[in-house]
């Protein structure tokens, strides 16, 4: 039987899509890279997911797990030559919340459950799922697990791996294994920890046990304006240096602040060179004291405006401004390239100056909106892909950005992952021995290299397999 026939037997006709147009929808994720999708499958149960993996393996096809496709590093872009396109397994129909245990603050979910849907579902219990990527309305928990996703509130609460207790995974032979567990210590290696952030290269997650976090009893959300980017960056350093860990500390520069204000009219100070959106949470007295200290530090460093949200509605509005940043940009430029690097948080002012310089030198417009508290930069380069040369200049600026951040002691990615986008930059950060160790881990999970080939680790890191650019991919 053919691949499509076998897959259809495992699922049904409606959930196995092989039409050219339908497949083309899955050639891309939210990055600018494009691959070539083979048959696209939509399992709903663990048994169906296992069957799909077995069929793909029997036909010698790779498997690319895909959630909502909001990834920005090309992690869900299928790579394979013509006639050997990977089977894309889309988890959007595995979208059930399986179990919520409020007493123990744990939920079991299928991977296609959307991040924000889970938090909304458990809010009535006084709980939430702490990782909150900017795409949280659209991204799936499975995608969060694959990318070890972050978000503004990961400053205080930690990224996805700190909130995942166990993952049920389909391995390359179709077998189902539970990594981790609800118990705090299990014998053997931290397989759960190894799997989270593996970008779909080690197996297909089919159920996830997540830790839920209590909603804080008290909150202060404030928007602080500054006359210079440096003053805002210095305030970030001063706050952390004072031993205060806000729940979130986001920075927006003048360009993005203006764009957001014109878009959502949240009352952001249009004349500020930079604003910080700072949220403190916890118990009332500690929150009040920390908020007062933060305001004092900011004013001492030249803050030009301080606005503290008076109620939940105003808090929502301030966050709406921050979270609408990408929508606001879409009104200004037809395309943007969103980067993701991390630098030591004491060097933000200096690195931001370099970011503006390198954007100018390449003739590219840049906006900055990012997780300042943990040094996680997100420069947005604006362009119009229809204009010749613009994308090339954006790529050149991005290349220089990555090098500047690595030289400053930073890393390639704070929350988007490596995927295809940054795969070939890995040697900037890691030695051949470091990369070989990482590849060994992948190899232990998936010796047949069935899952998501060509991702994360540059091909040269493997023995006897030298291939620089994956076939069928343009970057």
């Amino acid at each position: 039987m053919t691949l499509v026939q076998d897959l259809t037997a495992a699922l049904d006709e409606e959930r196995v899509r092989n039409g050219g147009l339908e497949r083309a929808l899955y050639n891309r994720d939210a990055s600018i890279m494009e691959g070539r999708a083979g048959v696209v499958c939509f399992p709903e149960t663990t048994a169906e997911a296992q069957a799909v993996v077995r069929v793909a393996a029997a036909h010698g096809r790779a498997v690319v797990p895909r959630g909502a496709g909001t990834g920005l590093a090309g992690g869900a872009v299928p790579v394979g030559s013509e006639g050997h396109e990977p089977v894309v397994v889309v988890t959007t129909r595995m979208n059930r919340i399986l179990e919520v245990d409020a007493d123990n603050a744990v939920a079991w979910v299928q991977p296609g459950v959307l991040n924000l849907d889970l938090s909304r579902h458990v809010a009535r219990l006084g709980l939430h799922f702490a990782p909150d990527p900017s795409s949280q309305q659209a991204c799936s928990i499975g995608g969060n697990v694959a990318n070890n996703s972050g978000g503004p509130h990961c400053l205080a609460y930690g990224v996805t791996t700190a909130h995942v207790l166990a993952v049920d995974v389909v391995l390359a032979d179709g077998a189902l294994v539970r990594l981790g567990g609800l118990e705090p210590e299990s014998p053997g290696y931290d397989l759960r920890g190894a799997f989270v952030g593996s970008e779909g290269t080690m197996g297909l997650a089919v159920a996830v046990a997540v830790r839920l976090t209590p909603l804080p009893p008290a909150l202060r959300t404030m928007l602080v304006g500054f006359a210079t980017v440096e003053a805002a960056a210095e305030t970030v350093t001063a706050v952390i240096g004072a031993g205060i860990i806000p729940a979130a500390m986001e920075m927006m520069d003048a360009r993005i602040t203006k764009a957001v204000e014109e878009y959502v009219h949240a009352g952001f100070p249009a004349d500020a060179a930079a604003v910080l959106l700072i949220e403190i949470d916890g118990l009332e007295d500690g929150v009040a004291a920390a908020a007062a200290e933060v305001v004092g530090l900011a004013e001492g460093l030249g803050a030009t405006s301080v606005r503290v949200a008076a109620d939940a509605a105003e808090r929502e509005l301030l966050w709406k401004g921050r979270k609408s940043a990408f929508g606001a940009v879409a009104r200004i430029a037809p395309d943007y390239y969103l980067h993701d690097t991390v630098v030591p948080r004491t060097r933000l002012a200096e690195i931001l100056a370099r970011v503006y310089e390198l954007a100018d030198a390449n003739g590219v417009a840049v906006m900055n909106v990012f997780h300042a508290g943990d040094g996680n930069l997100h420069p947005l380069f604006l362009f119009d892909r229809r204009r010749p040369g613009e994308l090339e200049r954006v790529k050149a600026a991005g290349d220089q950005l990555i090098r500047v951040c690595i030289e400053a002691g930073g890393v390639l990615s704070g929350e988007h992952g490596i995927g295809l986008e940054k795969r070939d930059y890995m040697p900037l950060l890691f030695s051949p021995a470091d990369l070989l160790a990482q590849d060994s881990l992948r190899d232990a999970f998936d010796p047949t290299r069935l899952f998501n080939p060509e991702k994360v680790i540059p091909s040269g890191s493997r023995c006897g397999d030298l291939q620089s650019i994956p076939p069928g991919v343009w970057i």
Binding site: C154, L171, A175, E183, G286, G414, E415, Q438, A444
Partner: protein
């Protein structure tokens, strides 16, 4: 040459080796299979950056020495070993067992940002990076925490540091039991312990928040001198929701359960471990085989 290079040279690439720290948890995972050459990891705090909230420290450094450096800047790493004067950073990370404040501060693995280790073939390998947020490549750091030195020999690590709580208070009351649900309604307590007869709660934070949480607990609570003595027998790990039913027919004071975490300390032996899923065992075996093909790193330790 630097301390790490010396350590790599000493470890070599041939004979069976194991690193011994303070030996405070040396029996975890069984004794190493003789003959094995015992090494000590390099020691010393290399670089504490309070404003970045991280510290670079060599694996052989006693936890008390690290804590003294961090305390100078009002910071801490909440690993809380039982005997910090002897326990080393590398030992605590290799065993991977958190102390009594895991409920609030999380497991050991969440405090480690970078590990530099000597691989089985004698090379220095770096996992992770000295920044607080990083998804560049696969997470070897978490793989190494709790691996008992069977995948690589830790030489130097970067840990997250945290502000020391401004106030910290233990409270206790008799509580024959069953254990309370939902952590008594406290907001993120640092620790909640129960031995079948009494409860202990550790409150941390702003002084007046600690006061208000103490008031929230209600009458009948008194301030003990400190935490209860932790029974030194076996150690069980169970889903936190199972502690109540497990304890139903146990004699009080023969155990101390970390509520909300699921670690139970026993005064008697722990009994045989539950056999893991054969597929988990197989994955462990495959990882060990790839990281240490000749089985020279801490031989005999862990089933893998």
């Amino acid at each position: 040459m630097g301390a790490l290079e010396d350590f790599a040279e000493e470890a070599g690439a041939e004979d069976p080796v194991a690193v011994r720290g303070g030996g405070t948890q040396w029996d975890v995972g069984g004794p190493p299979r003789a003959p094995v050459r015992l090494l000590g990891a390099p020691a010393g705090v290399v670089d504490h950056r309070p404003e970045e909230m991280l510290v670079r420290v060599r694996a052989g450094t006693p936890m008390a020495e690290l804590d003294e450096v961090l305390a100078g800047a009002g910071q801490m790493v909440p690993l809380d070993p039982v005997d910090p004067g002897r326990a080393t950073v590398g030992g605590v990370l290799s065993v991977g067992r958190a102390g009594l404040r895991r409920l609030r501060h999380g497991p050991v693995r969440d405090h480690v940002l970078e590990v530099r280790y000597v691989s089985a073939d004698g090379q220095l390998v770096k996992a992770g990076a000295p920044v607080v947020k990083n998804v560049s490549g696969f997470d070897l750091v978490r793989l190494l925490v709790g691996s008992l030195g069977t995948l690589g020999l830790m030489g130097e690590v970067v840990l997250r540091t945290y502000p020391r709580p401004r106030a910290s208070r233990w409270l206790t009351r008799p509580s024959p039991g069953p254990p309370p649900a939902r952590l008594l309604g406290l907001y993120r307590p640092a620790s909640l312990l129960w031995d079948g007869a009494s409860l202990w709660a550790l409150l941390e934070g702003h002084p007046s928040d600690v006061d208000s949480q103490a008031r929230h607990l209600g009458p009948g609570w008194t301030e003990p001198d400190g935490p209860p003595v932790v029974p030194a027998g076996g150690r069980l790990s169970m889903a936190p929701g199972l502690v109540a039913s497990w304890a139903r027919d146990r004699s009080p004071a023969t155990f101390l359960a970390e509520l909300g975490v699921g670690v139970v300390h026993l005064s008697g032996p722990g009994g045989p471990a539950v056999a893991p899923d054969p597929l988990v065992t197989e994955l462990n075996r495959r990882i060990k085989e790839r990281f240490d093909p000749t089985g020279r790193l801490n031989p005999g330790r862990m089933a893998a």
